[in-house]
């Protein structure tokens, strides 16, 4: 029983708890804030602009334009209406239409703009559960056409027995070359609207309710004078969308529905020659920047406001830099207590690694080598002067600064990045490395001094490769709860009493001789 309350056990519980918490937090952030494990994830933002223009005819004006309503298939970043001289009705997320009114006007063409920014559009199933609409009326058509329609339906059924009715009809009508019967029903040169109407008529003949869905297909830099159409049919208790070209079921990722059913896209009272033109523009932004908006849409605003990610960018960058430190510390702990590599100073390798990430790997190593080599040389000269410790170390610090200055100047002249980056090295740390190395050199010989520097460098390089990985940095920042996991891992390592890796060779003679 006592075992369950030992330090090691308590730390294990805490570690497991923190891991569970981190896992939950990761799930939460991915689900509600749209965070991603991969760094530099970009999100497409689609800007759709509907440009309505008409000529007023002197009556009171009322413009009614369909707008996309909230749906699971995309999120609205922002939307606005520019309509000079019009009174625009309030828009909330479920308003189906934008209403703009104005007193009678005369004069030239009136222009209204509606702009909506969408993101996170996904493949939607495009199915809506609904109570069954009433059976469609038999379309009015003459006997000859009715015969053709029936013939078409029969053809569709035999040719595509596995599909649902809407898909059958669409596929049949789109065949190339078309069946003669199809040509009789639908002109060769058919518009989207003709096609939609034909499908609707045929479905009605078969008794399947259907309606036309108007929306915009998201294609980069598109300008279009008409909405794109899809057909929505009531099949098996649900409204389902079908692509008019392929008969494919479901709402494609790049389609945004503005309006469904009989209402028109645009109604203008008090005006003539009304036209709506759409233009689509794609822009790319970092996924991270949209997190706040996503949180807001998911009703998680408060939690987001009190997170790192709501801070100004400068603070975020500082915290991003800090949040990689625990991992680097973990590396040092593992290297020392589990692997058993002795380094100069506990955190020196970690600070070196951090410096390397600022300087760049090769340039940093060269700068480090130059500074240490020159520093040692100067230190040996200083030791002949018999200075006291603190002034001597201070002198080394100043020399390190001077070496960095020279490196920078020389580097600039030769257009070599070394110099400019050398400044990032922690000066005091460098001075201490030089001091320690020179003392080890004098007391334990050059071999030991080089070995110590070498080991420190090895640990620094390993740390560097871990902390410089864009992936790891991103994950440690985006899912900063992991730092708790690291904290308890480090604490648990504090109770590790097993052998260090290097001890497996160091103490090997103790068991080898016994054989």
């Amino acid at each position: 029983m006592k075992k369950f309350f030992s330090v090691r056990c308590i730390l294990t519980y805490l570690l497991v708890l923190s891991a569970v918490y981190a896992a939950y937090a990761a799930y939460y952030k991915i689900e509600y804030w749209g965070f991603n494990f991969a760094p530099k994830q970009n999100t497409n933002i689609w800007t759709i602009e509907a440009h309505v223009s008409f000529m007023p005819n002197g009556e009171p004006i009322k413009v009614s334009l369909a707008r996309p309503t909230a749906s699971n298939e995309f999120k609205i970043l922002e939307e606005d209406v520019v309509a000079n001289g019009f009174k625009v009705g309030k828009i909330n997320k479920n308003t189906p239409r934008i209403i703009a009114t104005a007193k009678p006007k005369d004069g030239g063409e009136q222009n209204l703009y509606y702009r909506v920014l969408l993101f996170d559009n996904v493949d939607g199933k495009g199915r809506i559960k609904a109570t069954p609409p009433k059976k469609p009326d038999m379309p009015v058509m003459d006997d000859q056409v009715r015969e053709v329609a029936k013939e078409l339906l029969k053809l569709a059924k035999t040719q595509y027995p596995d599909d649902e009715w809407p898909a059958r009809i669409i596929k049949l009508l789109n065949q190339t070359p078309p069946e003669p019967t199809v040509v009789a029903f639908l002109p060769m040169k058919k518009s989207q609207k003709d096609m939609a109407q034909a499908v609707k008529t045929l479905l009605a003949t078969e008794g399947v309710p259907s309606r036309i869905a108007r929306g915009i297909k998201l294609v980069e830099n598109k300008k279009s004078t008409s909405a794109d159409l899809m057909i929505e049919a009531y099949v098996n208790g649900k409204w389902k969308l079908f692509n008019l070209k392929t008969g494919e079921k479901g709402l494609p990722k790049n389609f945004v529905i503005f309006q469904r059913g009989g209402d028109s896209l645009l109604d203008v009272e008090g005006g003539e020659d009304s036209v709506v033109k759409f233009s689509v523009l794609k822009s790319i932004t970092s996924s991270f920047k949209l997190a706040g908006k996503r949180a807001e849409l998911a009703d998680q605003k408060v939690r987001f406001d009190y997170s790192i990610y709501n801070l100004p960018l400068a603070e975020q960058n500082t915290l991003k830099w800090l949040s990689i430190f625990p991992l680097a510390i973990l590396v040092v702990v593992v290297m020392r207590n589990v692997v058993g590599i002795q380094t100069m100073g506990t955190f020196t390798p970690m600070l070196l690694a951090m410096a390397l990430t600022k300087t760049g790997f090769a340039a940093g190593l060269i700068a480090f080598g130059v500074i240490i080599a020159l520093g040692l040389f100067i230190r040996f000269w200083l030791s002949k002067l018999n200075l006291l410790l603190v002034p001597r170390i201070s002198a080394v610090v100043i020399f390190v600064i001077l070496i960095m200055q020279i490196l920078t100047i020389v580097g600039y002249q030769f257009d070599f990045k070394i110099g400019l980056s050398a400044v990032f090295f922690p000066i005091i740390i460098m001075a201490w490395i030089i001091e320690r190395a020179s003392i080890t050199w004098e007391e334990d010989g050059a071999m030991n001094a080089c070995r110590e520097v070498f080991y420190s460098l090895i640990v620094a390089i390993i740390t560097y490769f871990i902390v410089s990985s864009e992936y790891i940095r991103h994950i440690m920042f985006a899912f900063d709860e992991l730092n708790l996991v690291i904290l308890f891992t480090v604490m648990l390592l504090g109770t590790y009493t097993g052998y260090r890796l290097t001890e497996l060779t160091r103490f090997a003679p103790l068991v080898k001789d016994k054989k």
Binding site: L389, R500, T505, F507, D513
Partner: protein
């Protein structure tokens, strides 16, 4: 590659052999049995010496202490009654910063290796000690000046320069394991195993050599003098153990290392105590320390005084 790999052994086998690792030593032994507040007693050699003298442990006589920078110039005044002396940092470790002067004139000081240094260099060395160059954690330190140990001729052939010393690990007051450390040319006259000194494991009961290692590898002869290391015999063994055991009474440290030297005139003397003795002693003995400590935990009696503990270890007290 495979050769390198085969130099590893499985942790299971080490455990079976009762080998103690660094982490185990730090966590299970030092953290548990060595109270932090007791460290200054052994980390400060001046304090250790005063305590030892109080309890009746033989140590090299203190000539003087230099505490402040302005006293450094008086060093000749301090040592004027002595022909030879040793300067060491009171908070030094691993023999760092120890300077032995075998003979000197006003401006020339000769070390045992024959190297001559000037007064300026000596002055510099003492200054370095004061500024904390050799102390743990780089804190300001004091320089301890003490009498030179005239090491016994018995070991003359076994050691190249330097003073051979006996390291005894004391656990809960019982001498648990011991070895003799012999300096070599490779170790530069120092007695640290990692610097290349020879470690000769000594049977704790008899003081007779078990085996010898240098750089972790078994050897039979002193590399510089060629002396047969198995012929090493430490006289006054019981006295060595007594000093070690008394070290426990003096400090209260449950786990420590006592470094003992043999002076030709004054017998075994305690040089210093160590609250974190290293683990190389296991290799020199060819015996795992964890197993030995476990034995002490489980079978040794408690409540004995230093003499009784030594008697018990020597097998004279049943």
């Amino acid at each position: 590659m495979f050769g390198w790999f085969s130099s590893f052994v499985s942790p299971g086998r080490l455990k079976e052999a009762g080998v103690m690792g660094m982490n185990d030593r730090n966590y299970s032994i030092i953290a548990r049995y060595n109270k932090r507040s007791l460290y200054p007693l052994v980390d400060d050699k001046v304090q250790t010496k005063i305590l030892a003298n109080k309890i009746g442990i033989n140590t090299p006589r203190m000539i003087g202490v230099i505490e402040f920078q302005h006293q450094v110039k008086n060093i000749l005044e301090i040592v004027k009654d002595y022909k030879e002396f040793v300067v060491k940092p009171a908070h030094g470790s691993g023999g760092q910063g120890v300077l032995v002067i075998r003979s000197y004139t006003a401006d020339s000081f000769e070390t045992p290796s024959g190297r001559k240094i000037s007064f300026k260099e000596l002055y510099q060395h003492v200054s370095n000690i004061l500024s904390g160059l050799y102390s743990l954690g780089g804190k300001y330190d004091v320089a301890l000046i003490e009498e030179l140990v005239h090491f016994s001729d018995i070991f003359k052939n076994f050691s190249y320069q330097g003073i051979p010393d006996v390291r005894v690990i004391v656990y809960k007051g019982f001498p648990a394991m011991s070895m003799m450390r012999l300096s070599t040319a490779a170790s530069g006259g120092r007695a640290n195993l990692h610097q290349g000194a020879v470690g000769v494991g000594l049977d704790i009961k008899t003081g007779l050599p078990l085996k010898a290692v240098m750089y972790n590898k078994p050897i039979l002869k002193q590399p510089d003098t060629g002396a047969d290391l198995m012929q090493l015999k430490v006289p006054f063994w019981r006295e060595h153990l007594e000093i070690a055991s008394l070290g426990y009474d003096m400090t209260g440290l449950g786990y420590m290392g006592a470094d003992i030297v043999l002076d030709r005139d004054r017998g075994p003397m305690m040089l210093e105590l160590n609250a974190r003795p290293g683990l190389a002693i296991q290799i020199a003995n060819g015996i795992g320390l964890a197993g030995r400590l476990k034995e002490i935990d489980e079978t040794y009696p408690t409540g004995l005084n230093a003499q009784e503990r030594v008697d018990y270890v020597l097998g004279r007290l049943k």
